[in-house]
Symmetry: C2
């Protein structure tokens, strides 16, 4: 038996790192900052992808694919974009290797690119350069494209899933005839993300807009969803940007309106990434390992036989296989682990580590009694269930677990959201338990920066529908009309 | 109305290039050799992906994700791999941009990587470097991973889908305890590709092995599927490599056998790419545009209303919507194009260009007669179908079209496969109509190269189950035991 995980209390950060590796989700690769997503981790991502992809298509979007490389000169076109954002990039300068005199591989100095290519950190520039040719008239609008792709941002400090040099994501890039339509799209997509977080990730989120200093470079407004992790830190789980006409102007994308006038096109972009897998882990899991919401669990039910000899195993297997067949027909993913090389206790611990929502065990006595031993991962509650009722029980329990995980996360968030009215209280909360802090501030970058520099807490978002409340900035005492959400963040 | 496509007869190559762009499949980007896959083209690729992915999973494979970048030094480890293959690569040398004194973006010379990174042209090296840590014992085997990813090969002459600098593909990389098991896997996967080509792409293929000179660098045997295009050239549509222990030795991947001996692991790799979309176009389409097999068509049925006024349209739309609802429930993808801004004739031509398998039109008279006008794209045959029978007719026709397209391609291939026994006949066939040529050769690289240099035809494959036949090499007259397949190739 492997040793236990570090507990969350002992060292939350180490608990996370250990869990990601031990549960076979991902590992660091030989390339600094790049991860290998292992099959178990990747299958969670596949489920995230297919659920989100359906939601995008249901809201009228189509997928497309744009080049990995972006000519350097494109970054000169939208000044604020590159200033605020796109400097830490992988740069391709050559296109050939050669064998040197010692038989070693080296870069061929003769094969130098005239213009360097940047590995996309995000695709606004290359996509708007393409849209220029697609959009001539109001009839060509809206353009509602999404792309599933890898992107590269040269991060100095990386952590599996949360911040890696290369990561997988989707980026939606839409083009509209009017400002109103683009804003509507921006909000539609942040709501899609919030719905996905609630219904699939089982994570409650706060929807809001970013303050100026945290806004996406090139955007006029950035909407985000913020989720509270178990250590009291906030994690930005998705963003949706209203880009106004900035990229249309930079890449000269104009269209002819119905009234035959020439106008610049309005833009949005929105994305979520493999970071969501990190959010999933941090929001729900415990000291035994992962707790996965059934809707995203690669294995929803695992069955482990307990037997003394081959005859018993063969008897038990027959009943197990019947159940597996029925579950598969209902699209419930089930794994029968009858490997002889591992003992039941090892398997129990392993599937707890891997967060399988329901575990069934069946031994000789269960077989004779026509029962199953059932353990649900979220509460570790154990029950004996009659074979005649097992299907109904599993079906019901998968819904119940999904629901329970969400409620638990919601309860945690609510009890870790604190209203404070003085800077002293603000700092005390950060020292004690962190979490979300709702406070008044005067709306200036100076105040925001002062708080950030002194406490490391930042404005996570300005709630999208703030509750009107007269108050005073906790720093300057100037009047404020509503509270904003502060937290330390990943 | 746009002008007609160049015909295949007039200029096959131009026909292809025009068709790809006009049918909205893909276009060249601002980055040399990289394409933009447009939504309509990408949705074909999505269908290819999901069908293949299911076949991979049904044969026991799982997906994973490995880094985009490969350290340069990895290419030194398997000498034949880099010699034969991996030299034309994109090389990342820097990781930061900066703004120079004139406010222009430039590469920061201070941010130079110690070791250059290569954008993966294929992932054997990085994956086997990872497998080293995954595989310790026979219990860890087999490893059956697949990856859906983008790769980059710096091609000098590129063509949309057929040969692009960046392309999308899947690459399977498996690890086995025995040689036999690895060979079995190699053959299993080339058969999966052949089955996919037959059942989805509707393309008949020849399965065989590559001659030494065409073999994948690092492989001991390369299996391939070869498909004949309408211009008589062959297109390699998929490959599966038996890599023996070459990469295991290069990356020191050993395992403990059941008998406690240390042995190197056996490997395979196999892949298909967005090139399949090119194959699909070249194999079936005609001078009107695409002909898509129903199983991969993004739109299977398009419905076009013909009306003189709003009342007529509203009447017609009611019947159309009823049909659409029914078809959607049957998972048949249907599009109702009631756009007012285009005339029916324009729409007819556009959906012919886009290869939609079935087109329905309905006007006032059809409405009154309770009928539909139906045109199938593959034969352009027109029929009047009673509304009560339309669903059954569509269902049947989708199967029939899929079948007919395959049969047509098979017939074309058979009538363009020629047995020749002299080099003169060989050259004459190449001059007249090309196609596949079955000929005897002496099995030497010299003969192969002579033929290649003189005629541009190459050995496409050595059939996997050759028919024994005593013969003489068409060049040297030396004895040969079976014919191999020659052709000019893409």
């Amino acid at each position: 038996m492997e040793k236990k995980l570090t507990s969350r209390k002992e060292n939350y950060s180490q608990w996370y790192n250990e869990l990601v590796v031990r549960a076979d989700l991902a590992e660091n690769s030989s390339v600094r900052g790049c991860m290998v997503i292992k099959p178990y981790g990747y299958s969670i991502w596949e489920k995230i992808q297919s659920s989100l992809d359906k939601m995008f298509k249901d809201t009228g979007h189509v997928n497309a694919y744009f080049p990995l490389f972006i000519p350097k000169s494109f970054f000169n076109k939208e000044a604020s974009h590159v200033e605020g954002f796109a400097k830490e990039c992988a740069v391709v300068t050559h296109y050939r290797l050669k064998t040197d005199d010692d038989g070693q591989i080296e870069v061929d100095p003769a094969a130098k690119l005239e213009e360097e290519l940047i590995v996309r950190p995000t695709s606004e520039t290359i996509i708007w350069n393409t849209y220029k040719n697609w959009i001539k008239s109001y009839r060509d609008l809206p353009v509602l494209c999404n792309q599933w792709a890898n992107v590269v941002r040269w991060e100095m400090r990386t952590r599996l899933f949360l911040r890696t040099t290369e990561f997988l994501w989707q980026e939606g890039h839409t083009a509209h005839a009017t400002k109103e339509e683009a804003i509507e799209e921006t909000i539609r997509m942040i709501n899609v993300y919030a719905e996905f977080a609630r219904d699939f990730l089982a994570i409650p989120v706060v929807i809001g807009t970013k303050s100026e200093s945290e806004r996406f470079a090139g955007a006029e407004e950035t909407y985000c969803i913020e989720a509270l992790m178990q250590d009291g830190k906030s994690l930005q789980a998705g963003t949706s940007h209203f880009l106004a006409q900035n990229f249309a102007k930079a890449f000269d994308v104009k269209f002819m309106t119905r009234d035959n006038k020439e106008e610049y096109v309005w833009a949005t972009s929105w994305g979520v990434s493999t970071r969501l897998v990190g959010a999933l882990i941090m929001a729900h899991s415990d000291d035994r390992g992962l707790i996965l919401p059934p809707k995203l669990a690669p294995i929803q039910v695992v069955i482990i036989p307990i037997y003394n000899n081959k005859e018993q195993l063969s008897e038990i297997s027959q009943r197990v296989n019947e159940l597996c067949d029925k579950l598969k027909k209902m699209n419930i993913s089930v794994k029968y682990d009858d490997r002889d090389s591992y003992r039941p206790g090892f398997k129990f611990a392993d599937y707890e580590l891997k967060g399988v929502p329901i575990r069934l065990a069946i031994g000789k006595r269960d077989y004779d009694n026509n029962t199953w031993e059932l353990v649900r991962r979220d509460t570790m509650e154990k029950k004996i269930v009659n074979n005649d009722l097992i299907i109904k029980k599993i079906e019901k329990l998968l819904v119940e677990i999904q629901d329970n995980i969400y409620k638990k996360a919601e309860k945690f968030r609510n009890s870790n959201t604190t209203k404070v009215d003085t800077y002293d209280d603000f700092k005390e909360v950060l020292n004690k338990r962190q979490g979300f802090i709702e406070a008044h501030y005067d709306g200036t970058v100076e105040t925001e920066m002062l708080i950030k520099n002194e406490t490391k807490a930042t404005i996570r978002c300005i709630p999208i529908e703030p509750i009107s409340e007269e108050g005073k900035c906790i720093i300057t005492g100037k009047p404020s009309k509503f509270r904003v959400l502060f937290a330390k963040a990943y």
